[in-house]
Symmetry: C2
Subunit: 496 residues, 2 copies
């Protein structure tokens, strides 16, 4: 077991060795006339190697290290203002009037445009005499092309405030439109995560954006993330910056009642993975490099004591309410609690980040040949985001269990595992994986990636599509290269 | 028991009756073509009368009610961006440079001005070439006069960004200076809570303010509240608005290590009461009136599912770490966890509000004749805020227990009560009160208000000083008039 742990922690070990070779500890703590903190509590604090690693870093390094090899020592928690309540959508016109909005761009999609939520929004804007235009051509699972179309519409209409009414796809498109409207000369790849895009830092405030989610899933109303398919490479990628966070999220459980059952399940599984991945993400103190300027601290920072609170709460709520909410459209309590769960998970992963399920989901959705999930009223093939993240979860958490067993045990317990019956030496990963399989099959989730049309022959392409997802995969609690990814994909061909 | 409950819930009952007499339910839910939600989960959801009350409101009212008698149906969660980490204070200069600050006003007090934290701040500003002036004359437990002096200094120097380095007194003074610098023609009472002040709504954005707390208590770095002694009336009062929230809270556990033991205890007891009061506050759905415009939704809204998460976490941390932190200045983990607890509690009560302990603490501090708490290096008599709130806690929660027993039982359990040993019919209030007495005496907190110099003869004045604290006392989970307050004060003459 110990040998395995050393191997799996090789990333931290290597970083630690590099640290030792450098000439100084730029740790700000040391410049602050104090003794060294002995309290590095992260997911893996009970891990002897992780601990040793920290001690090395703090005690034994000498003067003059490259600052960019130093470990992070702080985390930042920023989340959007959220208003929550049944019927609260109708306040949006007053909010816009309070903001003295002169021309609002309301962004939605062609399905949502026909639902009561849009009627409520439009009536509210009219009641408050707020001038607006509507763009209803956002795409479910947006692409660089659909982003570009929304950006062009925005440049044509020059709004001063944005309102997004929809699920993650609409909210993300709206964030991108806001960003590139405010950077009119930038190419779409300018702010896209490296290595796919240039990953430039957004250095000015964007226009105000009010997000009104119609799914309980993405949590996009609380985060600064926008995800899209970059079609030239057939992968999902995204833009992430605190500057893209909505100014206000209006979370109205009345708006999520109309979701078809399969949309509820897929959205809820996104919440589930946000919660599990952020809770098991690399602890923020193990992330490198420490930014030289706080503006460069990434949106996704690794797990931290505040994100943990949100992630665990979101996991508890999802385990308790997702099936109820999906199976009974009249279960108002379950529906409401899933809205809370989505926002809680968004707050958690918006700070901690996600890792392997999300990193691997992007090629699963992007390389899809012909799979079209039931009840998705779109004119194209689609593996819903929530399905593509959840399908790898059993294999992923079986794999990550060794890195922070305490957290995997705790998650398994939330699913209902009886920890008092865990045998001595039993591994946490497989235990959590079993719970996940039971949970996913109970919801009728397709049985592994083979049920989505993939065979063993596709795995090299799926691995190749995952490798550029650095931004998220590097937050896995252990270093995960091509070989490990290949094994996880194989393991996820069938789940049940 | 049932009769007592009816009497104690008279406020809700009366409101419910008024509701019945009105002509309509303006409940937005009803205008949204939906069936009535059956899920009012608040602290008191298990309370048969509270439940009946909701049903009345939703089911039996008719068209045309006064909107201002309608119950709230939404809550808003807004908290400052927080950066947390040992040594993170040194980043403040870069933050200010990123904000392109042209003239920063650094506010602190004469004690903190001599501590390493101010040296770190000043060095950081110089390193980033940020022009600044320092105001170090804020008062511990500020007054209208000390607020006014800070405001005048601000008007003289015309800063574009504020930095507060200190405890609640400094942060609150800085918020007030920011507010009245941006409303130069307003009288100090303009935005002070009614009925003491005019309670006007702050309708524009203030200047950016970065808060760097040096105590683990107030949570003022996350809230839009500023408290002061209004000397003409000998009571504490305050200003509360989301607009006053700091732009960024820099929470650096290194800055709280220097607190004297008694300051640590008093600060930590403030955290304790923030957590307990916000967790047991009136549920937001029972608050009246529902605001006509979202801008009028108060900062203190009543307990809600999000504030509950923060409040409970803060309570757990405080119970676990306060004594350790106070008793061992080298216990870095306990010190760090209390910083987190303070921020968590601030986020919780910043949304839910506080109630009786805080409402009653203001006259306890304000009418103080000569008590001077040990280890407080100030040139005047002082009952520290944390002591004046905690001293009434056993009597307060004994009293409020009937309103939401589940929550009082849960809090008692966090203190260590064994709920499996609770006798059938045993009341939650006294159980929690016992736990609180044990906790407070263990920390050496003065034995009731008699230990602070008050006698039974002072109680009418203390009651009179509490009654105008509407803003907070109205958030108690049951209606509390002069008679009930008198009884609680009597009960708190001695605690042990």
């Amino acid at each position: 077991m110990s040998a395995i742990r050393v191997a799996q922690n090789s990333r931290a070990t290597i970083t630690s060795l590099i640290s030792l070779m450098n000439k100084s500890c730029t740790c700000p703590a040391h410049s602050h006339a104090r003794t060294v903190s002995k309290t590095h509590r992260g997911p893996c604090s009970s891990h002897p190697h992780a601990h040793a690693h920290h001690q090395h870093h703090h005690h034994h390094t000498k003067e003059g290290a490259e600052p960019d090899m130093a470990h992070e020592y702080a985390f930042e928690m920023a989340s959007s203002t959220m208003r929550f309540g049944e019927g609260v959508t109708r306040e949006v016109g007053m909010d816009l009037a309070n903001m003295k909005a002169k021309k609002v761009l309301v962004m939605t999609d062609s399905n949502i445009a026909k639902l009561p939520v849009m009627q409520t929004v439009v009536e509210s804007l009219k009641r408050s005499n707020v001038p607006f235009v509507v763009y209803d051509r956002t795409r479910a699972e947006p692409t660089d092309k659909s982003f570009q179309e929304a950006i062009e519409f925005t440049k044509l209409h020059k709004p001063d405030v944005f309102v997004a009414v929809g699920g993650g796809s609409v909210m993300d498109t709206c964030k991108a439109a806001n960003l590139y409207f405010n950077y009119p000369d930038a190419d779409l790849l300018e702010f896209v995560n490296a290595p796919i895009g240039k990953g430039s830092v957004i250095d000015k405030d964007l226009s105000p954006l009010i997000a009104i989610p119609t799914t309980a899933g993405t949590g996009s109303e609380t985060t600064g993330t926008a995800i899209f398919d970059y079609e030239p490479l057939h992968v999902k990628t995204g833009i992430a910056s605190r500057k893209m966070r909505p100014t206000l999220g209006i979370v109205d459980p009345l708006n999520t009642r109309t979701m078809p059952r399969q949309v509820k399940i897929a959205s809820g599984l996104d919440v589930l993975c946000h919660a599990l991945e952020s809770y098991t993400a690399l602890p923020y103190q193990e992330r490198t490099p420490r930014p030289a300027n706080p503006a460069e601290r990434p949106a996704y920072q690794g797990s931290n004591p505040i994100s943990d609170i949100w992630s665990l709460e979101a996991l508890r709520l999802t385990v308790k309410y997702l099936a109820r909410s999906a199976n009974d459209p009249l279960d108002a309590e379950a529906n409401e609690q899933m809205c809370l769960a989505a926002a809680a998970a968004g707050t958690g992963f918006g700070s901690a980040g996600v890792h392997l399920c999300h990193g691997m989901s992007y090629p699963i959705s992007g390389l899809n040949k012909s799979y079209k999930h039931p009840e998705y009223n779109v004119g194209h093939k689609i593996v819903p985001h929530g399905i593509s993240v959840a399908v790898t979860a059993p294999a992923v958490f079986k794999y990550t269990g060794e890195a922070c067993p305490d957290r995997h045990f705790k998650a398994a317990e939330i699913f209902g595992a009886d920890l008092s019956k865990v045998r001595k030496g039993e591994s946490a990963g497989p235990l959590l994986a079993d719970q996940l399989r039971k949970f996913l099959s109970g919801l009728g989730v397709p049985d592994g990636i083979s049920a989505l049309g993939y065979t063993k022959a596709d795995i090299p392409a799926l691995v190749k599509g995952t490798l550029p997802q650095h931004r998220v995969t590097k937050l896995a609690p252990l270093q995960t290269g091509a070989e490990a990814l290949e094994k996880i994909f194989e393991d996820t061909l069938k789940n049940y």
